[in-house]
């Protein structure tokens, strides 16, 4: 049999291929992005980027109702956006299997919170599977589709960063051939008016009872008896791997893979075999609380942290009392190296200008969130996708209602605006908000690694697609004051903001447009250098926070390996000391 070395995300994509999925939709978000990226490489599967997770799930729901096997993937906070269809899909159930992948980010490697999406399964009343490595990730997509169809329910498929972004060896199989299920009109099942929904609610109760029976004999929920019956550990997902790493077969383990509904009898059988039970799980006491509610005595969060990621090291310390051996730590403190805007990033100049304005700046989710860090430090608040425009509107109205005068500027990216900024701007127009709304349009979903969106002119399969026009959206929403500037032209950006400050008849929009500097063939060209004779060593250029500009002695130096030639620094230097030094 062929084997491959796949990330969890690649394995999920492979699972979708092998188990006859024919429809996939997603919005990019770390750590889930590569699922749809890899699915889109299979010509057998229709795959698309949706403008947001709610749309993605609704489209997948339609595909499932039509009779196709469908998969939708998103990061943990994406499921908040998709929660509305999710809860009612539990009532309607499915036709073709429907798998909803949520990739959680404990430790917030690339997220604004670390919510534990396992809680969605009992909340929405749908079953859930949790893989612990890439082989399981692939195989369990098959199981998930089977369960979804067998029990007429959408199913949650929950990974975490260390499952999604770890690679392990996977045995590959062939794609199963499967006819699409027939579709027949059935409004009592699929049209949730109250009268029909009440009936489906009763059906849902029976379904959960049947699913619990299934969970009892689901082979991926298993007891692994160890040498020692004193201690038993109940665990799931990546935590299972950490438990095995630290204990091997020293202790007995109950590995739970279907983590909703939980197999009560299996847990009871395990509890009978071992003397003392620990529940080892990342984030919330999700298993622990349910197992305690069943009446079992277990230890969990009093020893295992509920904040951040777990690791074998943490388990070794908390459960075995072993600290790491001799380790060498030569410096008590080192300069940190947080992520930074890339050399040539078109967002840099916009934030440089905003820092000079006395304004409240509400911003959004994307690379440009980094504008909050020194030296640009221009952002006041970041909350969730699309919130910049609506938060700014709230700021402005609250100031006005209380007689305070303040300029409020919002900053949002193109992909994020199309995701959930449109209704926010509609609110600002409708309620006559005098906010200044800057859309930093780099013509791609940059932070997650350059995925297309409805405005780029290409689809998920890199085929030409109709491009949604931002200008047309603003016109349609009724924004009257719209200007387009080049993000690299600092004077133009500054003038646009100053002009907008004078405009008092509703929201202004400034489109600061320049392609992401990392986009192949679209980045700037050239090389700049400091003319040492002209340089007065004022170091104003360092306020741009460009990684190419470095302190050298008492002056500055532009690293030719990093400089991409955006020439933003040229405009900042008061002495004209930064000059063109090459064309490539």
């Amino acid at each position: 049999m062929k084997k491959a070395f796949l990330t969890g995300n690649e394995a999920i994509a492979r699972g979708a291929y092998e188990y006859a999925v024919s429809f996939a939709s997603a919005y990019p978000g770390t750590p889930s992005t590569e699922i749809l990226e890899n699915i889109s490489k299979y010509p057998e599967i229709y795959a698309e980027w949706a403008p947001n997770e709610k749309v993605a799930l609704e489209a997948a729901a339609g595909a499932s109702m039509a009779g196709a096997r469908a998969i939708v993937s998103m990061k943990h906070v994406g499921l908040n956006v998709a929660a509305d269809p999710l809860f009612t899909l539990a009532y309607t159930g499915v036709n073709g299997g429907l798998v909803i992948v949520t990739a959680d980010d404990p430790g917030m490697h690339s997220s604004q919170n670390e919510q534990d999406n396992r809680n969605f399964a009992p909340f929405a009343k749908i079953p859930m599977l949790e893989p612990s490595d890439s082989q399981e990730a692939k195989d369990l997509i098959g199981e998930a589709l089977k369960i979804s169809e067998m029990f007429d329910t959408p199913i949650l498929f929950r990974t975490t960063t260390r499952v999604s972004h770890s690679r392990s060896v996977v045995q590959l199989g062939e794609r199963k051939s499967l006819e699409m299920k027939p579709y027949s009109k059935n409004p009592e099942k699929f049209a949730m008016i109250p009268g029909f929904a009440r009936k489906r609610r009763l059906n849902l109760k029976d379904r959960l009872a049947a699913l619990e029976d299934y969970s009892e004999q689901f082979p991926y929920n298993r007891i692994e008896l160890g040498k020692n019956y004193e201690v038993g550990i109940i665990t799931s997902g990546i935590s299972y791997q950490y438990v095995k790493e630290v204990f091997g077969d020293e202790v007995s383990v109950l590995k739970l893979t279907m983590t909703f509904p939980l197999p009560k009898k299996l847990i009871a059988a395990f509890a009978e075999k071992v003397k003392e039970i620990y529940v080892v799980e990342e984030l919330d006491p999700y298993l622990e609380n349910q197992i305690k509610a069943m009446g079992f005595k277990v230890k969990g969060k009093e020893v295992i942290p509920e904040i951040g990621e777990l690791s074998p090291e943490i388990l070794r310390e908390k459960l075995k009392g072993e600290k790491p051996g001799i380790t060498f730590k030569p410096y008590a403190q080192l300069p940190s190296r947080p992520p930074v805007l890339c050399p040539g990033c078109p967002h840099r100049g916009v934030f440089y200008v905003l820092k000079k304005m006395k304004a409240v700046v509400t911003s959004d989710i994307g690379c440009y969130s980094l504008g909050v860090l020194p030296p640009l430090e221009s952002i006041d608040s970041i909350l969730c996708m699309g919130a910049s425009i609506s938060m700014g509107h709230g700021f402005k109205k609250a100031f006005e209602a209380n007689g305070k005068n303040a300029t409020v500027i919002t900053v949002i990216g193109d992909s994020t605006f199309l995701h959930s900024g449109i209704t926010s701007l509609m609110d600002a127009v409708y309620n006559r908000s005098n906010t200044i709304n800057i859309i930093v349009d780099n013509s791609i979903t940059a932070m997650t690694g350059h995925q297309h969106h409805p405005g780029t002119g290409y689809n998920a399969k890199e085929e030409p697609a109709p491009a949604v026009s931002l200008e047309a959206i603003y016109r349609a929403l009724g924004v009257e004051n719209v200007v387009v500037v080049d993000s690299y032209d600092l004077k133009a950006v500054e003038n646009a903001v100053k002009d907008a400050m004078k405009y008092k008849d509703g929201p202004s929009v400034i489109i600061a447009r320049r392609a992401c500097a990392l986009l192949k063939g679209k980045g700037p060209k050239g090389l700049y250098a400091v003319n040492e004779e002209k340089c007065r060593k004022c170091k104003i250029c360092l306020r741009l926070g460009c990684p190419a500009i470095q302190v050298k002695g008492d002056g500055v130096f532009i690293n030719p390996l990093s400089c991409v030639g955006c020439a933003v620094c040229v405009q900042v230097c008061p002495f004209g000391a930064i000059e063109k030094a090459g064309d490539e």
């Binding site: 070395f5 030569p330 300069p335 969130s369 020194p374 932070m447 990684p547």
Partner: protein, 193 residues
């Protein structure tokens, strides 16, 4: 075989992910059970990045514990100092003799420690300092610094050289294959303690 652990640290954009891909593909081809953990998303934007590789007969955790890495392969000196606590006392440190000052140093708010290599040498028995950038330049492509370092690592770990040359042919774009193979071989020659 007992599980071995390779901890790779560097700066986003230095090619650590491709290095990890070459190493793990070769290890998988050699028949080992292998796990690797990578960093994606916001953290990649010029930030401190790590890749963790573990291989052997049966690997559970993709994460390496402090004090247990057989090798720390650091693509940059500050990132060697930052993660050296992961190295086991018997382990080998391979460090690229390269300074990439982070933003706080570039703007003069923090200082880049001047004595990293000396401090590390005092404590670490097995240490190889490599001018991977210089070697890669001589090979004709500065970005091949990652393959120089992979070459050093392969020799230190006593991995079969051919397995790597074969993988580089498979995963590197055709026009860069020769440069990358020569960078790997130059690294291999330097991988003697």
């Amino acid at each position: 075989m007992a599980v071995k652990s390779i901890f790779i640290s560097g700066v986003g954009g230095q090619g650590t992910i491709l290095a990890g891909k070459v190493i793990t593909t070769a290890l998988v081809n050699l028949g080992y059970d292998v796990k690797m953990s990578e960093v994606h998303g916001m953290a990649q934007r010029g930030g401190s990045v790590i890749t963790q590789i573990r291989y052997g007969d049966r690997v559970y955790s993709p994460l390496i514990e402090k004090g247990r890495a057989d090798v720390l392969l650091a693509f940059e000196k500050l990132e060697a100092a930052r993660y050296v606590e992961y190295l086991s006392p018997e382990g080998t440190l391979i460090v690229n003799d390269l300074e990439m000052p982070p933003a706080s140093v570039l703007v003069g708010k923090e200082e880049y420690p001047a004595d990293i290599v000396e401090r590390l040498k005092e404590e670490i028995r097995n240490m190889i300092v490599v001018d991977a950038v210089g070697v890669a330049k001589e090979c004709g492509e500065i970005r091949a610094q990652n393959m120089v370092l992979v070459g050093v690592l392969a020799r230190v770990m006593d991995w079969p050289k051919d397995a790597f040359v074969e993988v580089i042919r498979d995963v590197v774009p055709a026009k860069y294959v020769d440069v990358n193979i020569s960078a790997f071989e130059r690294g291999w020659d330097m991988g003697m303690l």
